[in-house]
Amino acid sequence: MPIIKTSEDRALRLGTGAFAVFVVLLVAGIGVVLTQQSVLSIRKFGLAFWTRSTWNPVSGEFGALPFIWGTLYSSLIALLIAAPIALGIAIFINEISPLKLRQPLSYLTELLAAIPSIVYGLWGIFVLVPIVRKLELLAPEWLKKVPLFTGPPLGVGMLSAGVILAVMVVPLTSSVAREILRGVPMTQREAALALGATRWEAIRIALGYGRTGIIGAVMLGLGRALGETMAVTMVIGNNPQVSTSLFAPQYTMAAVIANEFTEAADELYLHALIEIGLVLFLITIVVNALSRILTRRVVRA
């Protein structure tokens, strides 16, 4: 218990405390409302909702598996592409780039983060998808037998979704990673250089010093990828199927809610859509918790 000196301090403590409590209540409230509003679907399908892969509004059969799969798969692809690029940008701007270039470069990456996702989606449809289709057409027959590359070359599908998500995640991850690197004391690098380390070795030491924050930056990017809606729905092909193929059209949780919510007049259908929202909410919490645990472990190691 901190020592309370004056009435001012007391007010400060109460005021800020109330805000903190408010955040907790907000999160709990979202969970409660999502559960309440999806009760019909929860009652009808139970836990099987997570593992069923039928999504049929006509017959009232609903399952979330293809959407969960699509969300996790596309986010994973985005992360694999974005993390190295974002780190590279952060390292270049902070450690290597000439001073003159630093400001404009960081300004440009941050500009990318300010572009609305629908604009990314349009860019995806008109620029990215045709390029991806051409690449898919180039795939030789033997490659198309690998489960990762089966299916017709449509352009829209998991690959396009992963790439567009990566583009959207890069600015966020790189700007946080840059801040982290900037926070690493200069003495760390100087000490390394003084011991005869190369530039790369000095950077590695700086990265090691800031690894907690850097993992946090990547996880922030993952958070954005999990919830991203508009741009993804425009390029992923919106076909609820579980497929390992990068070429296959698939679906995500956020996209199905955005697509079908307005026309869902049937009660069970609506509740199933809201349960998808609940599943997304829970998965986001789990991913965040996992990233916390991961970060802690890295720090201890």
């Binding site: 109460l14 405390g17 109330a18 409590v21 408010f22 209540l25 409230g29 409302v33 039928t54 999504w55 049929n56 509004p57 006509v58 017959s59 449809i125 008109f126 998808v129 045709p130 289709r133 017709p152 449509l154 352009g155 829209v156 599908g157 729905t233 425009m234 092909g237 919106n238 076909n239 609820p240 059209p249 679906y251 996209a255 955005a258 697509n259 079908e260 919510f261 307005t262 026309e263 869902a264 007049a265 609506l270």
Partner: protein, 348 residues
């Protein structure tokens, strides 16, 4: 101390949750003294003509202000049932269960007609292709996989169809356009009816989903071998060529304002106006056509607003019908208008 803060916040939160209970239609509209504001919500397909109607009508009758939110047919039905809006609008008629769930009897009022057309991108083909209903159903079921399938070739003698795969494109968002399209396919193909069925969103056996008419047409344009379906208005405004579809009398008909109106003219219109006019009788009828409806309660607490809506509907069905062609909607046949005029007497 801490406890009180938490209790207070919990109470505040619960209070917020409670405010979700439906507001009555009277309260939902602003109650400024002279002006009459009427709120409506629903289908996006008729939004361009509704915006024009409501703004033109507002100029003629400055005391009436209509505020229409194009949030989708499903949302319109939900909000009307909850009485958060005074009128709703939908592209597919309400089901019996939905009507039963509503707090009072609801009248369906057809306003304009729309059509859905097949669009495609087959390299080397410039002439408009002819599709039978069954062919379209089989393409969307995935049983016809190639453009040179005998099913397609039969309707297009003399056209050299390529041996390429068909890439099926459908709407990913719930939509009245999908409803009309699958309603037609279900009527002409029993297999489609059992496997897919009729709704604003369905479980498609094949293909990729794209958002909105623009998404579907964009994807079709880019993908060699693709087929999709869009609203007639969207296709004609954007000069997208589309195929002809075989009607019930066996004629291949290209969609146009006349052929869409012809579909409605030949249909038997029931008293509640809840009728599907896909696959209609008549040589000139285009088979993938539909009404779009405005939904009103028969008995309203607010008689002034009900009266204003009745007047507005009368205007829309007479003077209003004359301006819809320029926006690409097909006008209602006179018989339907007459029947609606009589039905408007039930609303008060």
């Amino acid at each position: 101390m801490k406890k009180t803060v938490i209790t207070f916040a919990v109470l505040a939160f619960l209070a917020c949750g409670k405010s979700e209970t439906p507001v009555t239609a009277t309260n939902a509209t602003s109650s400024s003294s002279s002006a009459l504001t009427i709120n409506g919500a629903g289908a996006t397909f008729p939004n361009p003509i509704y915006s024009k109607w409501f703004s033109d009508y507002g100029k003629l009758h400055p005391h009436v202000g209509i505020n229409y939110q194009p949030i989708g047919s499903g949302g319109g039905i939900r909000q009307l049932t909850a009485k958060t809006v005074f009128f709703g609008a939908t592209d597919g008629p309400m089901s019996d269960e939905q009507l039963k769930a509503a707090p009072g009897p609801i009248v369906h009022l057809p306003t304009v007609l729309g059509g859905v057309v097949p669009i495609y991108n087959v390299p080397g083909i410039t002439a408009p292709l002819h599709f039978t209903g069954e062919t379209l159903a089989n393409i969307y079921l995935g049983t016809i996989k190639k453009w040179n399938d005998p099913g397609i070739a039969k309707g297009n003698p003399g056209v050299k169809l390529p041996d390429s795969d068909i890439a099926v494109v459908h709407r990913s968002d719930g939509s009245g356009t999908t409803y009309i399209f699958v309603d037609f396919l279900s009527k002409v193909s029993p297999a489609f009816k059992t496997r897919v069925g009729v709704a604003t969103s369905v479980s498609w056996p094949v293909g990729v989903g794209a958002k909105g008419n623009e998404g579907v047409s964009g994807l079709v344009k880019q993908t060699p071998g693709a087929i999709g379906y869009v609203e007639l208005i969207y296709a004609s405004h954007n000069n997208i060529p589309f195929g002809a579809v075989q009607n019930k009398s066996g004629k291949f008909v290209t969609a146009s304002l006349d052929s869409v109106t012809a579909a409605a003219a030949n249909a038997a219109i029931p008293d509640d106006f809840r009728v599907s006019i896909t696959n209609a009788d008549g040589d000139a009828a285009y088979p993938i056509a539909s009404f779009t409806w405005i939904l009103l309660y028969e008995n309203n607490d607010d008689h002034a607003r009900a009266q204003a809506m009745v007047e507005l509907m009368k205007w829309a069905l007479t003077a209003g019908q004359k301006q819809i062609g320029e926006l690409g909607y097909a006008p209602l046949p006179q018989a339907v208008v007459d029947k609606e005029m009589a039905a408007l007497g039930r609303i008060h």
